[in-house]
Every structure is written in structure tokens, then in C-alpha cells.
């Protein structure tokens, strides 16, 4: 009797204690990020985990006092503009490619899809260097247009998740529309697109987030050293250089928190589509 009681009481306690421990491990760096962003010591506090004095100064400094090192409002705007345009172009590319490969039948369909598989096997960094030179020849380095082109240009290759979604739309639907006399573009724009809200949300958020998360490509293209051109990622990375880290670390944390909030919200909205996309695509092969 007492053993069963023990089992019923102790087991859940152990289970939730383990979970609590794991959550703490996963959240410690995030908590440290948030706490340090309120620290009144500008560098890295290595003596105590929590800051010794609390202040809002780091946030106000980010906005009120942009200098040559930290120009957060400008970075934010830059990234925002780049993200908007990237999002518009690459979402439409992805939807177009995935609809064509999923719902339409034409001779080049299979060969094109095979080429896409091979292209996806090349490491992205390989093309990066060549893209940089091409942009340089076109005078597009250090311009936001160049960066948008780079982000959006080959976005069509990431069509698989959306294709997996379009594959689930019954073909009888399109068939009946065709019998009613609808043309292919009407079927796409008036019937399939309005039905595909989840995958559109996923694609839009995904492509909107890419410029916020990317760091390498931006660093390569926007290499002028003028901080007003940068995106948030390069700007924040730059704050952690050896000579700057001791006066800017707290501000880096504040900036990190500010970028993370909108990104986290979008990411949490997106995560359920993320799962559907990957598992759905896998089952259909």
C-alpha cells in the first residue's frame, strides 16, 4: 500500500523536477541576456550572474544616442526594409514554384525537380563568394538592393515544404473548376491561393525572418565599414569586437532583446507549420 502511494506521489515529483531542471538549463542564457540588458555596468560582468545595479539606460542609449558604433534605429529600419522586400519577392517565388511543380503537369517537371535537389546539395557558402564578385561587377555591393537580390534571388529552391502542402489539395477541385471553364491562372489565384492560408503564413514569416537571422551574407555584401548601412545582425556582431566589448556588451544585450521579441513571436506562430511542413514532406517523399 505505502509503496503504491510512494510511486504515485514521488514519480510525478521526479518527472517534473527533471523537466524543471532542463528548462532552467535551456533558459539560463536567455535570462542572462535579459538581465544583462538592464545592467548598469556597460561591459561583461564576470563576478556575479545577476547585474549589481539595474537601469534602463542601455535601451534609452540605443535609441537616443546613436553613434558611429551603435546606430540601432538605423539598423532596425535597414533590416526591416530589406526584410519586407525579400519577403514579398521570395514568398511569391516559393508559392509560384511550388504550385507549378505540385499542381501542373509538363514535360520539364521531373528534370527541374531533380536539378533542384542537386543544387541544394552544394553548400550555400560556395556560391556566396562568386555572388559577391558578381555583385561587385554590377556595383551592387554595399547596397541594400544587392542584399535583397541575394536573399530573394534563388528562393525558388526552397519550394519543397509548400509543395508538400499543395499536394494535399484534392485535384478534383481543380478539375471541376476547369470543367466550369476557369483558366489555369484563375484556378491558382482564385481557388488554390485562398485555400492555402497556413502555408502562405509559413512562407511569409519564414522569408521575412531570413534577413533578421542571416549574418554571413550581410557581412559579406555590406562591407563598407559604415555603420549606417548595416543590418541588425552585423551591427550587433560588431559591438562584440575585442576593443568594443567592454563598453558595449550591455547594449548588445539590450539590442538582442529588442530584436528577439518580434522574432520570437513570429517564430512561435510559425512553429506548428514548421513541424507540419517537415513531417508532411517526409511522408510523401
Amino acid at each position: 500500500m505505502s509503496r503504491r502511494v510512494m510511486k504515485r506521489i514521488v514519480n510525478p515529483i521526479i518527472r517534473h523536477a527533471v523537466l524543471l531542471f532542463l528548462s532552467v538549463v535551456w533558459l539560463v542564457p536567455i535570462v542572462w541576456l535579459v538581465c544583462t540588458s538592464f545592467s548598469d555596468y556597460p561591459g561583461i560582468n564576470i563576478r556575479t550572474f545577476l547585474p549589481e545595479g539595474w537601469t534602463f539606460k542601455n535601451y534609452t542609449l540605443l535609441f537616443s544616442d546613436p553613434d558611429s558604433v551603435a546606430n540601432f534605429p538605423k539598423w532596425f529600419m535597414n533590416t526591416f526594409i530589406i526584410a519586407i522586400f525579400t519577403c514579398l519577392i521570395s514568398s511569391s517565388f516559393v508559392l509560384m514554384v511550388s504550385y507549378a511543380t505540385s499542381c501542373m503537369r509538363f514535360k520539364m517537371r521531373k528534370p527541374l525537380m531533380n536539378i533542384a535537389i542537386i543544387l541544394n546539395l552544394f553548400p550555400g557558402f560556395l556560391t556566396m563568394i562568386a555572388i559577391y564578385f558578381i555583385l561587385k561587377e554590377l556595383n551592387l555591393t554595399n547596397s541594400h538592393l544587392g542584399l535583397i537580390l541575394v536573399y530573394a534571388g534563388s528562393s525558388g529552391l526552397g519550394y519543397l515544404v509548400a509543395k508538400g502542402f499543395f499536394d494535399t489539395i484534392p485535384s478534383s477541385l481543380r478539375e471541376s473548376a476547369r470543367i466550369e471553364g476557369a483558366s489555369e491562372d484563375q484556378i491558382f489565384l482564385k481557388i488554390v491561393i485562398p485555400m492555402s492560408k497556413p502555408i502562405i503564413v509559413y512562407t511569409v514569416i519564414n522569408s521575412f525572418l531570413a534577413p533578421w537571422m542571416d549574418f554571413v551574407m550581410a557581412k559579406l555584401v555590406l562591407n563598407s565599414g559604415l555603420s549606417k548601412d548595416w543590418t541588425v545582425a552585423i551591427g550587433l556582431y560588431n559591438m562584440l569586437g575585442k576593443t568594443l566589448i567592454n563598453s558595449y556588451f550591455a547594449r548588445f544585450c539590450a539590442g538582442g532583446v529588442l530584436v528577439s521579441i518580434p522574432i520570437s513571436v513570429l517564430f512561435i506562430i510559425m512553429q506548428k507549420f514548421y513541424v507540419e511542413g517537415i513531417t508532411g514532406g517526409a511522408v510523401k517523399g
Binding site: M104, K110, L126, I131, S155, C253, S264
Partner: protein, 478 residues
């Protein structure tokens, strides 16, 4: 095999159509061999005729004015060195009409692609003019221009949809890829930097340099070290996050766990923060003079590790990211922190889809929890996430962010042989490639590494997918 056969058959058919069109075509078809629009004028499709002829004119103008000069120098990549001579008449330095090797490589390649595409268009044009001829001879209706345009919204809608994305892919993936593959066969590096210097073709010299040892270069040594760490890393990172993610999701989704959604959110928050923020933060967290070291010092862990010999006694800190062995260990641990929540999300999605009748039936037959996990849950997981596991492995071989953000500027190698070729013990092939281009302008060797990465990924993917198709057990789970 079948697809390869199909491929060659369709190429054969393509040229056969062309031959038939030329032989059996009437005067308009033959004229359109010369002037592309001629065939359409003959069938009263004037707008199309004008457009086609204009396209032909543009292509010819492009080839003659722009393409040919570059193609002409493509075999040597230029031979006129840049020189700047003081011109007394103008009283300033004058630069001669020099060759820019990279421009010749890039624009020569683009011109060749344009010419190939133009030839294909030319052949298809003749074939379609012949089709018009057949239609006309049989007295069938020939589309007006307006009908042709409307066709792009209906029967040829896929062309409308695909043309922009595909040209984007051609410009921003295929052309750069070809350029970089070609660069691997040139002498493009620090001592051959255009515009000041020329570079040229060197055949397989760079590959030889990568794989043979000599006194001056240590690429061969570094390649071995970096490759083995890349593979160890890819296996370790994929395995730890996969197993960890599945265990965590089973733990979270167990009916005995209260508030599963709340717990899940905790883990998702950790990955929702952009990697460049979280990884840079963690790097300072584990720095030699970082907060973790302070805590370890205060708790006596540092002294304990010194005593058992894991930390050199001359150090007053644990070298989490500065000692080769420690750094590798720390990176894999940090990657578990980064990767497990993703796998947890995916595993959650898959676990929810496991047909409950399977597990239910097993339970009635008297299987215990572990047996169900081993015989049903695990095979099902492996089946569904198999392709994802392969992409995950390839992704880890190319996992630039984690390694670069954690170790760049922080980790300094003491191995002179590695340092000579800009590598470190913790570099992956891709980070090494990146450093070679950024710090050393060693473009040709970087391209060689890139090609090697592709070969490794391609071979692995092919083998893995073949294996999975052979072990195809789709029916077992349906």
C-alpha cells in the same frame, strides 16, 4: 537508370524534330533558319515575327559586341598586364587597356551560356514554325497573337509561373556555382588578384596541392584534420540532437506530464532568439574570463579538474573554447542546446501521428513501455524522419553558424601547420573555406574545398537514399 535513358531519348527527339523540320519544311521554314521571325510572317503572325526577329537581333548584337571579346580570351583568361604609365602630355598616370581575368572568366561564361540558350531557342523556333506549316496545310486554325498571349495564362501557365523564379536561380545559384567550379582550376589567389595581376588556368594543380604534401604548403595536413573533425562533428551533432529531441518530446508528451504546453514553450523560447544573439552570448558565457568560469572557480570545480588532470595546472580557468579538446566538447554541448528543441518540435509532430491502434494493440498483447518504444515508436520515427535525418546530417556538415559564431576571433590554434593554411582544429570545411577567402584571398583553394564538400554531401545523400529505398517499408505503417 530509366531517367537517364529518358533524358537521352528526349535529347535525341529534340534534334530529330529539328532535322525533320529542316528537310520537310517549306520556304518559310527554311527562311526562318536565317531570320527567326520569317516563318511567322509567312503565317500572318506579324507581332510574333517582329518579336522573334528583334530577339535574334539583340542576341547577335550581344554576342558580337559583348560576348565574343571575352570568349576570345577565355582560353588564357587574358594576357595584358595592368600597367600605369605617366603620360607627360596629360600630366597624369594613364592605365593601359589591360585584361581583367575575373571579368573574362565571368562574362565569358555568361556569354557561352547565352549562346547555348540562343541555339536552343533557334532550334525550337524552327520546329514550331514547321508545326505552323503543318497546321496551315491541314487547314487548321492558327492562333492570333492575342490567343498566344492568353495561352500563357492557361495551357502554358507553368511557364509564366516558373520563368522568374528559375531565372533567379540561374543568376544567383547556377552561374555563381559554375564560376566557383571554374575558379578551382585557376591560379586565382592573393598573388594573382585582378585587376593588378592576371590569373590563368592551372588544370588540376590546386587539387594536387590539396592532397599532396610538400615543404611549403600544409593543405594536405589541414584537410585531413579538418575533414575528420567535420565528420565527427556531423555524426555527433546529428546523433545527440536527434536522440535528445526524441527523448525530450516523449517526456513532454507523456500523459503523466502536467502542463506540457508550458514546458514546450520554455524550450521554444530558447531557439526563437536569433542564433547570432544567442551564440555570441553563450560564447561570452563560456569565455576564459566569463561568468561560468567564475562560478566554477567559486565552487572549486576548476581545482577539481586540475587535480584529475583535465585542465593544465598552469591555467586559472577552464579553457571551454580555447583548448582543442575542450572546445570540441563545448561546441557539441552547446549544439545540443541549440538543436534539441527543433528536434523536439518535429518529434512531437510525428509522435502525435503514430496510429494509436498500433500501440494499443501492442499493449493489449502485453508489451511493456520499453518494448513499444523499441518495436513501434522508434521504427516509425526513423521511417518518417529518415529523409530529414539525411538533410540534417548534410546540414551539420555545412553548419557554419554554430562553429563560426562560437569560435571566430576566440579560438587561436597553436598548431603551426594548421595556422599556415588558415585552419584551426575546430574549423569545419565550410568555415575553413570562408576564412580562406576572407583572411587569405585564397579563392582557388577555397573552391577546391567547396567542390570536396559537395562531393561528400552528394555521395552521402545518394547512398543514404538508396539504402532507405531498399529498406522501403512503407506498407508496414499504413
Amino acid at each position: 537508370m530509366k531517367s537517364i535513358k529518358n533524358f537521352f531519348c528526349s535529347i535525341g527527339r529534340f534534334f530529330k524534330d529539328f532535322g525533320v523540320a529542316v528537310v520537310k519544311g517549306d520556304i518559310w521554314v527554311k527562311l526562318s533558319l536565317l531570320i527567326m521571325g520569317a516563318g511567322y510572317f509567312g503565317r500572318k503572325q506579324y507581332v510574333k515575327g517582329v518579336l522573334m526577329t528583334a530577339l535574334q537581333a539583340v542576341i547577335i548584337a550581344f554576342t558580337v559586341l559583348f560576348g565574343l571579346p571575352y570568349i576570345g580570351k577565355f582560353d588564357t583568361l587574358g594576357d595584358v598586364q595592368r600597367e600605369s604609365v605617366y603620360d607627360p602630355a596629360l600630366r597624369k598616370n594613364v592605365v593601359n587597356d589591360y585584361d581583367h581575368s575575373f571579368k573574362i572568366l565571368l562574362f565569358g561564361l555568361i556569354s557561352i551560356i547565352v549562346i547555348i540558350v540562343a541555339v536552343v531557342i533557334w532550334i525550337r523556333n524552327v520546329v514550331s514554325v514547321r508545326k505552323l506549316q503543318v497546321l496551315a496545310e491541314n487547314g487548321k486554325h492558327i492562333n492570333t497573337f492575342r490567343e498566344d498571349v492568353r495561352e500563357f495564362r492557361n495551357g502554358k501557365f507553368h511557364i509564366t509561373l516558373l520563368s522568374l523564379p528559375v531565372s533567379g536561380i540561374v543568376c544567383f545559384t547556377i552561374v555563381p556555382l559554375l564560376v566557383i567550379i571554374l575558379v578551382a582550376f585557376t591560379s586565382y589567389n592573393k598573388t594573382h588578384m585582378p585587376p593588378a595581376e592576371l590569373f590563368t588556368w592551372v588544370g588540376f594543380d590546386n587539387f594536387e596541392k590539396m592532397f599532396s604534401s610538400s615543404l611549403t604548403t600544409t593543405f594536405n595536413y589541414s584537410f585531413g584534420k579538418v575533414l575528420s573533425w567535420t565528420l565527427i562533428w556531423a555524426v555527433a551533432a546529428t546523433a545527440t540532437t536527434y536522440i535528445g529531441g526524441i527523448l525530450l518530446s516523449m517526456f513532454l508528451n507523456n500523459s503523466k506530464t502536467k502542463l506540457p504546453k508550458m514546458w514546450r514553450t520554455f524550450f521554444v523560447i530558447a531557439i526563437a532568439v536569433p542564433q547570432f544573439v544567442s551564440l555570441l552570448l553563450v560564447r561570452n558565457f563560456f569565455a576564459d574570463m566569463g561568468i561560468v568560469n567564475t562560478i566554477c572557480n567559486n565552487l572549486g570545480i576548476t581545482d577539481f579538474l586540475k587535480e584529475i588532470g583535465w585542465v593544465r595546472s598552469s591555467l586559472d580557468h577552464i579553457p571551454f573554447l580555447t583548448d582543442p579538446t575542450w572546445a570540441k566538447f563545448t561546441i557539441i554541448i552547446i549544439n545540443i542546446w541549440v538543436g534539441v528543441p527543433y528536434l523536439m518540435l518535429i518529434a512531437t509532430g510525428v509522435l502525435m501521428n503514430i496510429p494509436t491502434d498500433l500501440t494499443e494493440a501492442a499493449r493489449i498483447d502485453g508489451a511493456n513501455g520499453f518494448q513499444i518504444f523499441r518495436k513501434i515508436t522508434m521504427p516509425y520515427m526513423l521511417f518518417v524522419t529518415g529523409p530529414y535525418l539525411v538533410t540534417q546530417f548534410v546540414g551539420n556538415i555545412n553548419n557554419f553558424n554554430v562553429i563560426y559564431l562560437l569560435t571566430n576571433d576566440v579560438y587561436i590554434t597553436l598548431d603551426q601547420k594548421l595556422a599556415n593554411s588558415t585552419a584551426t582544429e575546430v574549423d569545419l570545411l565550410v568555415t575553413w573555406l570562408f576564412k580562406l577567402t576572407q583572411n587569405d584571398y585564397n579563392y582557388n583553394m577555397a573552391s577546391v574545398i567547396g567542390i570536396m564538400v559537395f562531393i561528400i554531401c552528394a555521395v552521402f545523400t545518394l547512398v543514404a537514399f538508396n539504402f532507405m529505398i531498399k529498406g522501403d517499408r512503407e506498407e508496414d505503417f499504413q
